[in-house]
């Protein structure tokens, strides 16, 4: 505790480049947690992470059921990858992830973004990835403050006791 008081974290810049449920929520939980602690917070969504702030996609994030060795069936039973390729499995697993989180009072993505900005956190989109995916600013959530180049974003990440986190 005393160590934290000596030199507290002042700013976090979080980068989210992936679009699965768990990658996006890791980013959102970290960001919201920082805002709640009074830490200045900036979040940069790039590549597939853009799904989290794209109106059409943000409510449809999925967890990968193939190539995800940490995924187990309820009760800790193994979940063979071959099951993950069956139709409906990915949707079912994703729905279950969401319902488990909802029980812990973790909101859907759109509401989570609102929570972050309500506390003064800022959300940004990557210009390069937007161009690549042919997205316009109007495709993005209203909570997105701006579309930035990497250089612009680094420009926001200065200052003492600032950390950049890549989730």
């Amino acid at each position: 505790m005393s160590a934290a008081k000596e030199s507290p974290l002042k700013k976090v810049c979080i980068i989210c480049a992936k679009g699965t449920i768990e990658d996006v929520y890791a980013t959102l939980v970290m960001a919201n947690g920082a805002v709640m602690e009074g830490i200045e917070t900036k979040v940069f969504f790039t590549f597939f992470g853009l799904d989290a702030i794209t109106k059409k996609q943000m409510g449809r994030l999925k967890t990968a059921t193939v190539g995800n060795p940490a995924m187990r069936a309820p009760g800790g039973l193994p979940f063979p990858t071959i099951l993950g390729i069956l139709p409906g499995v990915e949707a079912g697993v994703s729905a279950m992830m969401k319902s488990q989180m909802y029980k812990l009072d973790i909101p859907p993505v759109d509401e989570f973004l609102e929570m972050i900005t309500a506390g003064g956190g800022e959300i940004f989109a990557c210009k390069l990835a937007m161009d690549m995916f042919k997205l316009e600013k109007s495709d993005l959530s209203d909570e997105v403050k701006d579309v930035l180049t990497v250089g612009d974003f680094y420009g926001l990440c200065g200052g003492e006791n600032t950390q950049i986190i890549f989730t």
Binding site: M36, E37, L104, D105, I106, M115, G120
Partner: protein, 103 residues
Amino acid sequence: MATKTYAGQAVEVNDEGYMVNASQWNRDIAAEMAKEEGIELTEKHYEVLEFLRNSNEKGETLTIRKVGKSGITDIKGLYQLFPGGPLKFSSKFAGIPKPASCV
């Protein structure tokens, strides 16, 4: 563990300044605790504190989302009432333990 004096009353607090015994709480103690953080408590603040105390008594896990849906204030309002620690400071002033939730 330490004892601090708030509003002329000896209050048991933990290392982080949270009250150990929620039943020792009263409005004057809350007001003095808030002043330490530079916050002047209004009726709105007290409504939030009461809400937190009630939820805590029921054993609920507190989140800013719950407070935001309480009808007292929304999340933005909560940040304005308790700048820099919407749940942390409000829980502290409410005399309840530091929230153990991450949202």
